[in-house]
């Protein structure tokens, strides 16, 4: 929760504005890239499609005409941010504003002014003091340092100028209801563990970080196995040292990089608050490849009011979308996609309509409650928006509008998906995976994004432990997730640095456990056990903390050790939870590889998603707890059954089924006409209105 406890702005999956619940469903319209004469049509198209909110970046580099000289419409009509916000307000639209300072948006230099990019004092630094270039077209550029005092001061001035425009236009009097802090928090996609940041200002912060963490020089020396003469002599590591005694030094470096990002965001938030936007909730958007970036979800949660994930995925990667949303649901009470890619930039692989649409449905299936369709209106350097730059609809608009109508009709934002299991992602193991990556600037974010594996590039040596922990922890996580899927047991991934009480929400908790364990993680596991959660961890009891200090912990009541080295351990654990504790959804998939998720409100199940990530179409069968009738939210096809439903699902796609009534008469669930005369397929599927119908999306 953001400092100050401002989460009251969100309730039941929606934003609350002047007592009104507003679902977080928006579309991106970049005022500075479309002709001013097209603004009204573009915004009207968004409203007509069912969006109550639009989103835009405010790019520093576009508004800055000369050093210190900002144009908000005097020189270029399209730069008139105030007029754009006023028009949105006139049309009854709220605005989700993203003023950077980093915006990307496929703008040259990621939307930063060229003078900032060329200012050496702003540059992040490699261990050899070289600048750190991002290879993004149409110009590679040296990325700024989050620690650079010069950069921070310049960014403060920029954000202050935006706040001056926006202050009088903030909700509820005005349209601006949500503000994003910076963009895709990481080290400007140069996230190799020893890529950056060795800027002089960063080195000062590093030493301050160590002082706060260790307090005494002796404690620091002991932890780092380094004979520092003073804190001022504690240089940051320039590359990984495979010496077990030095591991805490590298884990500290990884934690420090996380703090660099978080501290910068905190400063941006402070500027906005001090310049009069303190009553507008804030959001941060975590980029794709989150397993390889230096972020602490717990810290992000403390800086912003909402932590969201961006989604850019092909339909062939629905399992990845699933996994990411299961993490987002473990991080955020209102899972939100600040960028759900509808189309793609020209320098990435093009995403077609089906890719974006099935990604959205998959994320919704696993708990996404809000999304910003990025881009909704076309613009330069974008391919695949559903509305052209003049506000005219393209064929892809209709399915999106249909989906938005369906979400509104079922009040999707207020539904919940109950996850029974928390799979803990230990912060110290994630950091270990980052620092042991041998792919340098290529990883680990890139390979998490490409191979969907945050430990892809890790070295394989054991570093003095029994196993290569940096890889094994993830293998255990993946194994258990697969076993839970096989038994239709819903789960979330919960980063260990989230607030301690979070784990207690779940009936079952699993944490990978090797020799290293931070005090914080152990405390959270013990607390969950005391609160009644069934806690399993393994394969080993920890023996040292993340500072290298011996630390033997006894398993308390409700905690059990699992030998994850044994074959089939994950299935055995899932079976035990099912058999002994009744875990598992009554909506159980009977088709291997097919997933079924259920979303409920106080009346019971309202929406069921059926996901087929496979390469071929399937007749997906799943159990239902009582007689139910379903209607596909998008094509209207209906199904009814007493105990077992069969739903045809195309390859790599998702069906969103609305539960029409709580129950139907048993007679309604009788076999379909074509089955007359056969032995009744008791309680089997009945596609009620399939004949001759094509799915039109």
């Amino acid at each position: 929760m953001a400092e100050g406890g401002r989460r009251a702005w969100f309730g039941e999956g929606a934003l609350e504005v002047a007592g009104r619940r507003v679902p977080l469903r928006s579309g991106s319209v970049q005022y500075f890239r479309i002709a001013r004469g097209a603004w009204r049509d573009a915004l009207t198209a968004a409203r007509d499609a069912g969006l109550g909110m639009i989103e835009t970046y405010v790019p520093w580099g576009v508004h800055e005409r000369a050093p210190g000289e900002l144009d908000f419409g005097a020189a270029r009509p399209e730069n008139d941010l105030g007029a754009f916000l006023d028009l949105a307000h006139e049309l009854g639209l709220l605005v989700f504003l993203r003023p950077g300072p980093h915006v990307n948006a496929e703008l040259t230099y990621f939307g930063l002014p060229s003078r900032i990019v060329k200012d050496e004092a702003c540059w992040a630094r490699s261990p050899r003091d070289t600048p750190v270039y991002l290879h993004a077209p149409p110009r590679m550029f040296p990325v700024p340092s989050f620690a650079s005092q010069r950069f921070q001061e310049e960014a403060d001035r920029w954000l202050g100028a935006v706040a001056d425009i926006v202050r009088s236009r903030a909700a509820p009097e005005g349209p601006v209801a949500l503000v994003q802090l910076d963009n895709e928090p990481c080290l400007y996609f140069r996230n190799g563990p020893y890529d950056q940041d060795y800027h002089p200002d960063a080195q000062v912060k590093w030493r301050r970080f160590l002082r706060e963490r260790y307090a005494s020089l002796d404690a620091l020396r002991s932890a780092h196995a380094m004979d520092y003469a003073s804190f001022e002599h504690a240089d940051p590591p320039a590359r990984f040292e495979p010496d077990p005694s030095r591991l805490p030094r590298h884990l500290d470096w990884a934690a420090f990089q996380e703090s660099l990002v978080t501290d910068a965001l905190r400063r941006f938030a402070t500027v906005l608050r001090e310049r009069g936007l303190g009553h507008v909730p804030t959001v941060v958007n975590v980029p794709v490849g989150e397993g390889g970036i230096p972020v602490s979800y717990g810290a992000l949660d403390g800086v912003a009011d909402l932590v969201g994930f961006d989604y850019y995925h092909a339909a062939a990667s629905l399992e990845t979308v699933k996994r990411r949303t299961e993490l987002l649901a473990g991080v955020s009470d209102l899972p939100f996609a600040p960028e759900l890619g509808v189309g793609s930039p020209p320098w990435l692989l093009p995403l077609e309509h089906e890719d974006s649409f099935e990604t959205a449905l998959t994320a919704l299936a696993y708990g996404l409650r809000g999304m910003n369709l990025y881009m909704f209106v076309d613009r330069d350097r974008w391919i695949g928006a559903p509305v052209d730059a003049n506000g005219a609809p393209r064929p892809a608009l209709e399915p999106w509008a249909r989906l938005l109508r369906a979400l509104a009709a079922v009040r999707h934002e207020g539904l919940t998906r109950k996850a029974e299991v928390a799979i803990v992602l230990p912060a110290e193991y994630r950091r270990l995976a980052r620092v042991t990556s041998v792919l340098g600037p290529l990883g680990p974010q890139l390979f998490d994004a490409l191979a969907h594996d945050p430990v892809f590039g890790c070295r394989m040596d054991t570093l003095g432990f029994a196993d290569p922990i940096q890889v094994r922890w993830w293998e255990d996580v993946v194994a258990l997730a697969a076993a839970l899927d096989r038994r239709s047991i819903a789960y979330c991934f919960v980063p260990s640095e989230m607030p301690e009480e979070r784990l207690s929400r779940y009936r079952f908790v699993f944490s990978p456990s090797f020799e290293i364990c931070s005090d914080d993680r152990w405390r959270a596991l013990a607390r969950a056990a005391r609160a009644g959660s069934v806690v399993a961890l393994g394969p080993r009891e920890p023996t040292v903390d993340d500072r290298g200090r011996p630390s033997r912990r006894a398993l308390g009541a409700g905690m059990a050790l699992v030998d994850t080295r044994a074959e089939g351990w994950a299935d055995e654990l899932a079976a035990r939870w099912t058999d002994d504790h009744g875990a598992g959804s009554p909506f159980r998939s009977e088709t291997p590889g097919v997933h079924v998720t259920v979303h409920e409100d106080a009346r019971g199940p309202r929406v069921v998603f059926v996901l087929n990530p496979g390469d071929g179409p399937v007749d997906a069968a799943f159990r239902v707890p009582t007689a139910l009738r379903f209607a596909d939210a998008l094509d209207g096809e209906t199904f009814a059954a007493a105990e077992r439903v069969v739903v045809p699902v195309r390859a790599r796609s998702v069906r969103m089924l609305l539960v029409e009534d709580a129950a139907v008469e048993t007679a309604d669930a009788s076999p379909p006409a074509q089955d007359a005369g056969r032995a009744p397929r008791a309680r089997s599927a009945r596609p009620a209105a399939r004949a001759g119908k094509k799915r039109s999306r």
Binding site: K118, R239, P346, E352, V438, L439, G440
Partner: protein
């Protein structure tokens, strides 16, 4: 060469994917039904070793993580053992070193192609220093041009203040298109797609052999005089780009399967050279190996001199189209990679 404010617009996802597909390897179906592409056809083996040769990381793109890898001193041997089409062995820290070397040369003011060349030069240095070992080395036989050479080559292909049109059809409708506009200062300022083209051109008849003149005129009026326009069925150009056959382009132009309009002098020469190669290839076989190309070289040289055309090949030191077709053909499993001498031939500007 590429303007920092370059515009890219007028594509939908499908048209853009089709455009990219021309220049990317086709998917190859293996015997067991796997669909593989590019390097994955035989797999890429990627190894990171310590300074002492200890394997820190090994991954095969088809087989996953590789345990207990033998001696890494010979990437060619590793490639054979693991059935990979390419093996890359990187010394631990070399990727960071590559980035740092590159950063010392780069400037944010430089054009993107210049920046890419800087990266390529740094990478080649690392390869020569043995920090990165690749077998087979991609484009190993190609000289790396300097930014000036690249700019001169671009001047030949698309002079400043002119536009180039690529318009590909599927029957009576445009399947994909690209219009490149080079500004008067020599920088590429825009890449427009089929939406822009159709909005600028208006209704078409549906036959590229007739419509091409109208398109060329409309683009010239809307944007800049067209230096070269290429019109064909998409599948025709797709095949031509992968064809190892000498003379394929010339034959397609002769039968109007490929329309080049307007046709700049370098295209006349390139198609002529292509035809010449075809004649040489055919007659060489028919004449029992008599080398007609050698015999005709003085004539070709005279032709080149007569029209005062400098070829892209002579500027760059290699034939980019031959390199591309060789690469595409090999990755698409259609033909072996072109021999270095075919790519680098000084007069071979097809």
């Amino acid at each position: 060469m590429i303007d920092p404010d370059v515009r890219i617009t007028g594509f939908d996802a499908r048209a853009f994917r089709r455009l990219l597909a021309l220049f990317t390897p086709d998917r190859v179906e293996t015997a067991d039904g796997d669909a593989l592409a590019g390097d994955d056809a035989g797999g890429l083996l990627f190894v990171v070793e310590s300074a002492h040769g200890e394997v820190l990381f090994a991954h095969h793109s088809r087989k996953g993580r590789v345990q207990r890898l033998p001696d890494t001193s010979d990437p060619a041997k590793l490639r054979r053992i693991y059935g990979a089409s390419r093996c890359v062995v990187v010394r631990d820290g070399a990727l960071e070193e590559l980035e740092q070397r590159t950063a010392l040369r780069l400037s944010p003011k430089d054009d993107y192609l210049t920046q890419l060349l800087m990266v390529a030069h740094a990478a080649r240095e690392m390869i020569h220093a043995g920090q990165i070992r690749i077998d087979p080395e991609p484009l190993g036989s190609l000289p790396l041009p300097g930014p000036g050479m690249l700019a001169r080559a671009l001047d030949i292909l698309l002079p400043a203040g002119r536009a180039a049109v690529l318009c590909l059809w599927d029957g009576a409708s445009i399947e994909t298109a690209a219009v490149v506009h080079r500004g008067s200062d020599g920088a590429i300022v825009a890449l427009y797609g089929p939406d822009w083209l159709e909005a600028s051109v208006g209704p078409l008849g549906g036959d590229f052999r007739r419509d091409h003149r109208h398109i060329t005129d409309a683009v010239s009026a809307a944007l800049a005089p067209v230096a070269i326009g290429i019109y064909a069925e998409a599948r025709t150009l797709h095949a031509l780009l992968r064809s190892p056959d000498p003379g394929a382009f010339a034959a397609a132009a002769a039968t109007r399967e490929l329309v080049v309009h307007p046709m700049p002098p370098y295209a006349v020469v390139a198609l002529g050279a292509d035809a010449l190669r075809s004649v040489a290839s055919t007659s060489g076989r028919a004449l029992g190996g008599v080398d007609l190309v050698t015999a005709l070289t003085p004539i070709a040289r005279a032709l080149l001199d007569a029209v005062e055309v400098h070829t892209v090949t002579s500027v760059l030191g290699f034939n980019p189209l031959a390199a591309l077709s060789g690469w595409l053909a090999r990755r698409s499993g259609e033909a072996p990679e072109a021999r270095p001498e075919e790519i680098a031939g000084p007069e071979d500007d097809r």
